[in-house]
Symmetry: C2
Subunit: 363 residues, 2 copies
């Protein structure tokens, strides 16, 4: 437990026999102070276990030294659900169904936070994280705005209008989305990724038409990915169909069944993993061997894609890098508030797994 009242610059100054200005200098720009006095001050800091007060520093320095990260909301009720000090009251849960998972069906969030966290502290800042709970998005934004020097917002956690408004009072970067001309952004090369993946598929796939499982029409990601698909098709023409799968397992499943009626496809390319997994299940039931008779691929790299039968080749967004670049974009913006908004595009990775590899290793 904290004992005594914390020491201040005044205490340190007195202890070292200097003025508070000198104490401050030793801490902020040591090169401006003689070695001998610097050492005396540092010793006093040690002796008193002095820790600078961040609020005072922030107020005087006109910067908080903190960056904010706004991530999608969640459903966690903070009314605690686990009994406390209740040894023996263990609950047995049937976990055969996909019971948990929450809003994050993959490790993206974790990686993003890690990337942002590392970059933030490297730069000498702190990272404040907030999840826009649907109720109080507006309040959280207001609150954050007053606490940070810059704010990274994950796409779709906030309505565009709120983002624009927030960007008016604090440096802001949009992550995994864009608002061209309005704010800085860092997003991923959806189009290039899908194009590269499709080219690869067209090269290795067995005979048969290619089925593209299109995503939701209102999603920018879906639009970009489909453009990538068509880019590749233009370069490697061949028979193909598109079916609306709406990013869902069900959608992919039905689209595959429909396709199977007119003969088995040689490849199924999903706009995301969920729809590809739905198609995979349909093919399996229909007795179509993957990848020998049909190659299947997804996009996103959700956990399930690693554990399906066979594991799904997919495209992964570099989430840690998104976090890192978001922070860097914020720092640039803070350094040069007047610069033109910039949109950064990060390259993606293709994860090759057995659903596309005819000579895949077996483990």
């Amino acid at each position: 437990m904290p004992r005594r009242k914390s020491p201040t610059v005044y205490d340190v100054a007195e202890h070292a026999g200097v003025s508070i200005a000198t104490v401050s200098r030793v801490l902020r720009s040591p090169e401006k102070v003689t070695v001998s006095t610097r050492e005396r001050v540092l010793a006093a800091v040690q002796d008193l276990r002095y820790v600078p007060n961040a609020s005072a520093r922030g107020l005087a320095g006109r910067r908080t030294g903190v960056l904010g990260l706004l991530i999608p909301g969640h459903d966690i009720s903070t009314a605690s659900r686990r009994p406390v000090d209740a040894s023996g009251t263990i609950e047995f849960l049937d976990d055969h169904h996909d019971s948990h998972g929450g809003p994050f069906r993959n490790r993206y969030f974790e990686q993003l936070v890690h990337g942002a966290e590392a970059a933030t502290w490297d730069a000498g800042y702190g990272l404040l994280i907030a999840a826009g709970s649907s109720v109080s998005r507006d309040m959280v934004v207001r609150d954050l705005t007053g606490r940070v020097d810059g704010l990274a917002v994950i796409a779709r956690t906030l309505p565009d209008e709120l983002i624009t408004r927030a960007a008016d009072s604090v440096p802001l970067v949009l992550v995994a989305g864009r608002l061209p001309g309005t704010t800085d952004s860092v997003s991923v090369d959806n189009r290039g990724g899908m194009s590269a993946l499709t080219e690869y598929v067209l090269r290795v796939k067995p005979p048969g038409p290619t089925l593209y499982l299109a995503g939701s029409v209102d999603s920018p990601d879906a639009v970009e990915r489909e453009l990538g698909f068509r880019d590749a098709l233009a370069a490697h023409p061949g028979p193909w169909h598109t079916a609306a799968a709406d990013f869902s397992w069900q959608g992919g499943h039905e689209a595959a069944l429909e396709q199977l009626r007119s003969g088995p496809p040689g490849a199924v390319i999903g706009a995301n993993d969920q729809s590809a997994l739905g198609a995979l299940a349909a093919l399996r039931v229909a007795g179509v061997r993957v990848p020998e008779e049909c190659v299947v691929t997804g996009f996103d790299g959700i956990d399930e894609s690693r554990y399906s039968h066979p594991p799904l080749t997919t495209v992964r967004q570099p989430m840690a890098d998104l976090g890192i670049h978001a922070v860097e974009a914020l720092l640039s913006r803070i350094a040069d508030p007047g610069a033109e908004p910039r949109d950064l595009r990060l390259a993606v990775d293709v994860l090759l797994r057995q659903s596309s590899e005819l000579s895949a290793p077996t483990d």
Copy 2:
């Protein structure tokens, strides 16, 4: 981009024709202000888009309004690895091996952060998160200390001595570990969980001795879990062995092979999931059917436990609740700095999966 200099209480006061004290009151304790003036002030706040400066508030109010969460470090290099604005430079990665994952092999971190985040904002605080990168643990702690009103530290991210020292200058709660008599803590009922699980196993298991895969001797978790195992054994005697598996896949694998030489076990109870999964693999190769001939269980609830063949029955720590309770403990401590250190124990859940269920549903 942020345009003009932000408005202050003075601007709002002038705009509303009141003093700054009244503005402050409207924001902090509205009930102390007449409805009519309150509305006038609120209108001014709206008009000017006033956002309180957190640093000034923190300095004047002697609280930062921020809680800190220190999580385990990571290896993410912030020297960015993904090419930027490089459409087409997609990398193809062989993902047949367990190539990624990092320090968090499960979703614990994510859930913990979510729980802590929700509870923190619910209480009107912000959440500052930091990962102790090995280099600068000491600095990060110092830095955090000055920025927050309370600090939650995940067990094993910091040497005990550093924790004790930090606890001296800021309210601190240890999460998933204990330092009895020194700091508040929130941890999990390892002993009760293992005891409940073991009792269940002893009840449903087929004939044959029970093999317990013990964890690392220097781990408090291992000690507690083994005590739980023995508690259950005392109540349901029967043949059993213990083997050191050191929390590792390899350790569990070898222990199972060794056991198989003297005959197949009727149950294998791992002190953690990794070792249980190692044993599971050994049993599978040896042709022992799980769960028909041998029941297998783990502890932790890592991702892999859901996707093994068969899926592994295990004990899950309620990470979100750990986060929530950690925050609550911090808030109590802040409210009553003089109280005795408290150690909270949360109950765990047993996740029943096919590795222990003889009549398990098939999907």
